[in-house]
Symmetry: C2
Subunit: 187 residues, 2 copies
DNA sequence: AGGGGTGGCTAATGGCATTAGCTTATGAGC
DNA sequence: GCTCATAAGCTAATGCCATTAGCCACCCCT
């Protein structure tokens, strides 16, 4: 080992704060290096390239989300668990909208695994409905799509009208809870 | 006027086909120019810059979607309209996944207006539920968030497990229809 | 005290968006 | 049919960015 200095985690951390402060479009290696007080090429000692940095950031974001959500869901079941999950998810997005916009979905194993950890937590919350496996997977996808869609749109400021988003989100939670509880077909 | 040749619309068209063929990440002015059989700087005679090209592409995509959806919803009401709307939306995404990934939401008026046209069609479909204005707006946001979330994830290939997406989407439609029909509170 | 490896640096390359300024074809009016 | 203004194209140049190559200094371990 040599000087302590930077590390991959530290670089990711600097990059995440940069994105928080200046938006996802401001993410360049030059800007990260400048914040870290280092020359641009030095970053390559810690991350392979920009694409990997993006992936590492996404993993960190998903893990943060997973941790928060895991805590929120603990000890609750069924409707209450979904409500807590969705509320916690949105809180994170509202706290860090740019960070959420910087999330990338790549087929890369590292990112896919972090996504899976997140999905597993949702899956666990939905099993509380007594769903069998395949059914729970479909339900989880619906939950994920719904939350993610709202999150993306809110993070990008895509909702124009003056109606309160809090109220919309209450309705969204209601829609998910009601819609997933009502059986699709009487099979 | 001078030579017919290119036009802003033609550039947008070439760019959309490029994205369809090679993915959203392949969108560069150099690549568009090459496809159009022209030198890169020539594009600036038709679009202001890359950001404007992206915006114009997004407008085109949203208008295509609006046209399809307008047709699909015509003559249907309530549940059937929502079902048709969601099905048509997803068909477009499956046909043009890269194009959908290239969609940008900016506060720019041009894009916001195209988005509004799309939202208005959804709003019209939801009024069929007899919702009053504010209620219909919240419901439209839920519908939009849900569809968009699923579309983004499917376009990015973010669903890993082998379960059929068709089945998931059936459940999603069911969730939206059921969830939006059930009143939130008996106010 | 010394040596190996790690983490930093400067310099160089190539792709891209964008701007400046020149050239030419076209079509409207005569 | 000729002229000319202008739209639409071009080449050249700039500057930012990611990435690579190759060099140097510091620190820990012995």
């Amino acid at each position: 080992m040599a000087r302590a200095a930077l590390s991959a985690d530290a670089v990711v951390d600097v990059a995440l704060r940069l994105v928080d402060d200046e938006g996802a479009a401001a993410l360049t290696l030059a800007a990260v290096a400048s914040r870290a007080g280092v020359a641009t090429p030095s970053l390559y000692k810690h991350v392979r390239n920009l694409a990997e940095l993006r992936a590492l950031m996404s993993v960190q974001i998903m893990d943060d989300l997973a941790e928060r959500i895991g805590g929120a869901v603990l000890g609750r079941s069924a409707d209450e668990a979904i409500r807590a999950l969705m509320t916690t998810w949105r809180e994170y997005v509202v706290e860090h909208p740019h960070r959420y916009s910087a999330l990338v979905q790549t087929p890369e194993p590292m990112v896919a695994q972090a996504g899976q950890r997140l999905v597993d937590i949702m899956l666990a919350a939905l099993r509380a409905y007594g769903m069998e496996d395949s059914e729970a997977i479909h339900a989880t996808r619906c939950l994920r799509a719904t939350m993610h869609g709202f999150a993306v749109l809110e993070a990008q400021n895509a909702f124009q009208l003056p109606e309160k988003l809090d109220e919309t989100y209450d309705l969204l939670i209601h829609m998910v809870v009601t819609g997933l509880r009502t059986p699709l077909r009487p099979t």
